[in-house]
């Protein structure tokens, strides 16, 4: 999507995030956090030229995007260079242990999934943003899909990482202006 589209989505998601209780609605609060973060992050990646702004959308299969057909009546899937990234499936630090430890996403010998080759090296501020994303992503499997408690400490660390990510992206693109508190 275009940067403006990511930011429009981010603003609505950020507002919805604020309507959920961090404890009572912990799973969906977290999921909204990561969904909003994904939009902000894609805006930042487009802004610095690491990924392409396009009118297509990432599927669960890395590198496979879906777009409207020319007559806008059907959808078609195609392999494309990195546009929007789907953060849960696209570790930005592919040498990190979190990627190696998730063999279902990249079983040994399977080169078809691959790792997106960004259009340019991540600038320093987006490297910090990626680390913030990793802090948020650390909660997803153990506590949202699994049973590890979503402790106040985890909620706070997610909240801080989210605020940092939003601040970085805001500085890069002049938006988003959502409440990241």
């Amino acid at each position: 999507m275009k940067i403006t589209d990511h930011l429009e989505k981010f603003e609505r998601l950020d507002a919805a995030r604020g309507t959920l209780d961090q404890v009572e609605d912990a799973e969906l609060w977290f999921w909204t956090t990561v969904t909003a973060a994904m939009q902000a992050m894609n805006a930042g990646l487009h802004a610095v030229g690491c990924t392409e702004e396009r009118n297509d959308f990432p599927t669960q299969i890395m590198g496979v995007y879906e777009r409207l057909s020319e007559d806008e009546k059907t959808f078609e899937r195609c392999a494309l260079p990195p546009g929007d990234l789907h953060l849960g499936l696209a570790p930005l630090f592919p040498d990190g242990p979190e990627f190696i430890q998730q063999p279902p996403l990249n079983p040994p010998g399977n080169v078809s999934l691959g790792i997106p080759q960004l259009q340019r090296e991540l600038p320093e501020e987006l490297q910090r943003a990626c680390r913030a994303v990793e802090v948020i992503e650390e909660v997803r499997d153990p506590s949202i899909r699994g049973l590890q408690p979503i402790t106040p400490e985890r909620i706070q660390s997610c909240d801080r990482a989210y605020a940092e990510l939003v601040e970085i992206v805001r500085d890069l693109v002049g938006e988003p202006e959502g409440d990241a508190s």
């Binding site: 999507m1 589209d5 989505k9 609505r12 998601l13 507002a15 919805a16 309507t19 959920l20 009572e24 609605d25 799973e27 969906l28 609060w29 999921w31 909204t32 969904t35 994904m38 297509d56 959308f57 990432p58 599927t59 669960q60 299969i61 879906e66 409207l68 959808f75 929007d84 789907h86 279902p104 499997d141 949202i144 899909r145 699994g146 049973l147």
Partner: protein, 129 residues
């Protein structure tokens, strides 16, 4: 996770999604999908297709064998999850027009998955019948 633990997670997430205004259709769709995935795992464990220490994360990542087994017993679950996955690509990660309708449909699909999962039984038992 046990089937009951998946059910509890699914119901918590579904209850939280009730608080979301449908103008934020992305989270309505995501809430329906995330809770449906817990119902899918609930069903897979009851069907004894997957062990309780192995949960499926995405319907699109199921093996062909698992899809075949689920499709033989509960094709409506696979169809519903595939439809929701398409919604996530187009309306959550994408900005195709029609998000409100997708949100309404996702909640209907959640009900389909939940009902099928609650009725799930062992694959071997179903085969014997």
């Amino acid at each position: 996770m046990t089937p009951d633990q998946h059910r509890e997670k699914a119901e918590r997430i579904r209850a939280s999604a009730e608080k979301i205004d449908h103008s934020v259709y992305e989270i309505v769709v995501e809430g329906a999908y995330l809770s449906s995935m817990h119902w899918l795992n609930h069903a897979l464990h009851k069907m004894e297709v997957t062990a309780e220490d192995h949960d499926v994360v995405h319907a699109e990542h199921l093996s062909g064998m698992d899809r075949g087994k689920i499709g033989a017993l509960m094709p409506e679950i696979l169809a519903a999850l595939d439809e929701m996955e398409a919604f996530r690509t187009r309306y959550v990660r994408g900005n195709v027009a029609g998000g409100l309708a997708a949100a309404r449909r996702a909640l209907e699909l959640y009900d389909v998955v939940r009902e099928a999962a609650m009725a799930a039984k062992s694959f071997q038992q179903a085969a014997a019948e």
